[in-house]
């Protein structure tokens, strides 16, 4: 990787953009690595959580927003809890995911995760609540490779009455839809 810094390239300030959106000040981070040390998913990530912060510190927007790491963050908030400098790392991941989607930079290798979020929110948008069966259905349709997963669990859930065929629409589902519209 190469970082090039010239007077011209200093005009856009990624760290400031992140701070303006979320109030998270990555400058506070002194790169001790405690977030990475405690991250349960770090072993799967392409960049360690502290490196993601580093990207933001150094204005490496593309590197941060195209990383798999931001999608692999499980939002367990262990990092934020233990951060000595009180940097909200888990919350930073939220902002980065949001920006990544906005700029169309979401890493295709973690498409399963982004599709799941989409399917989930579509269900909420449609019914006001989650219809687990239909959400699952949408997810599996869009990610056919996952279709064969959980072939045993599904029927078992059905037999135990844990999956309902009928989506439960709330009365205010139109109000919820409007929330989605207004929060685009």
């Amino acid at each position: 990787m190469k970082i090039k810094i010239t007077t011209k390239e200093l005009k856009s300030d990624f760290a400031k953009e992140v701070k303006d959106r979320s109030g998270i000040d990555v400058k506070k981070c002194y790169q001790c690595g405690k977030c990475t040390a405690g991250c349960p998913v770090a072993y799967e990530m392409d960049y360690m959580p502290n490196q993601i912060i580093r990207f933001v510190q150094l204005g490496l927007k593309r590197e941060a927003l195209t990383s798999r790491t931001i999608w692999l963050c499980a939002s367990c908030i262990t990092c934020t809890t233990r951060c000595p400098k009180e940097v909200k790392i888990a919350e930073l991941m939220d902002v980065l995911r949001e920006m990544s989607l906005e700029e169309g930079l979401a890493n295709p290798l973690e498409k399963n995760i982004t599709t799941f979020h989409q399917a989930f929110l579509n269900s909420v948008k449609k019914h006001g609540r989650i219809s687990e069966l239909w959400m699952l259905n949408e997810y599996k349709m869009k990610r056919p490779k996952t279709a064969l997963q959980d072939l045993i669990i599904g029927p078992q859930m059905l037999s135990k009455g844990k999956l309902s065929f009928l989506p439960h629409d709330i009365k205010g589902k139109d109000a919820v839809k409007r929330i989605f519209e207004k929060c685009k």
Partner: protein, 295 residues
């Protein structure tokens, strides 16, 4: 000691634990226990999904608005407190409430989106908090059964405790609330190390491999600590530890067969509310050993 009036509390079940959902036994047992000893739970009218991880991971404003709508509905019904047994829900509600309180602009946007005002003076309780605040004496008074030699590992997961500065519930690294409740049911608490670890939560469908690894670590630790069952207060934790347990066993080649019970079910068993009515038959891993311990 004062005799408490039955307090009216707004009940926000959330999608996962309502009837016909993946974790309906949690909802069922919470309601059954409340009927027996708890404050009066009144479902918030026309509540909607809090948006869970999928919303906060992709759209902060949406996530906040979805959560705040429920709080505003509760406010309108005059509730001072809301119980959200699902920690994903309680965490989202509390964080959203704090975010709008801290950010005037966000508050305006959210109120505009949900077409309702939001005062922000409702207190959101997780299930452990509710029991600790309202039910400890009652459990002691009304306990009918004492389990015989039942060792329970209390598993908190992430969402009940983190972020601690916002949730302000228990010690984030060494919580003890659940253990206190477990011991109130007469069971024995085992000390173990991974009680606040993450189970992989929302990755259960999209990155099952991650969930399997994390849950395997958790199950191993609990079993090695001598636990007969793991108590949980989170539908995601439950789903990953219970429904996925057979798959974990296969993947990591170790037999656990350890029942995963909701803390509400344990309380119910101690109050002798009947295993079926508590939904103990809905688990994937057989709960008979736990039920029998209360015989």
């Amino acid at each position: 000691m004062q005799i408490k009036e039955k307090t009216r509390i707004g009940y926000y079940p959330g999608c996962a634990i309502t009837m016909g959902s993946s974790s309906e036994e949690y909802g069922t047992s919470v309601l059954r226990v409340a009927e027996a000893i708890g404050p009066e739970l009144e479902e918030i009218h026309d509540w909607n999904c809090c948006g869970a991880s999928s919303a906060h991971a992709t759209n902060h404003k949406l996530s906040t608005a979805l959560s705040i709508r429920n709080i505003s509905l509760a406010e309108q019904s005059g509730f001072k407190e809301i119980l959200a047994p699902c920690p994903m829900c309680s965490q989202r509600l509390i964080i959203s409430q704090k975010d709008v309180a801290d950010d005037e602009e966000l508050k305006k946007d959210v109120e505009d989106a949900i077409e309702m005002p939001c005062n922000g003076d409702v207190k959101i309780l997780n299930y452990l908090e509710l029991i600790k605040n309202y039910c400890m004496d009652e459990i002691a008074e009304k306990r009918k059964k004492t389990p015989k030699d039942l060792k329970i590992a209390s598993y908190y997961g992430c969402l009940l405790l983190r972020p601690p500065k916002v949730l302000q519930f228990d010690d984030p690294e060494n919580p003890t609330s659940m253990e206190e409740i477990v011991e109130a049911t007469g069971a024995i608490s085992v000390d173990w190390e991974l009680k606040t670890n993450c189970c992989g939560g929302g990755f259960t469908l999209s990155r099952t491999d991650i969930v399997l690894k994390l849950t395997n670590d958790i199950l191993e630790c609990a079993v090695d600590a001598g636990a007969d069952a793991i108590a949980v207060a989170c539908p995601m934790c439950h789903a990953n530890l219970d429904m996925r347990q057979k798959k974990i066993e296969k993947e990591y080649n170790r037999k656990f067969n350890i029942p995963i019970v909701y803390i509400s079910e344990l309380i119910g068993l101690a109050l002798d509310l009947g295993p079926i009515s508590l939904g103990l038959n809905k688990h994937f891993i057989d709960t008979e050993s736990v039920v029998n311990a209360f015989a």
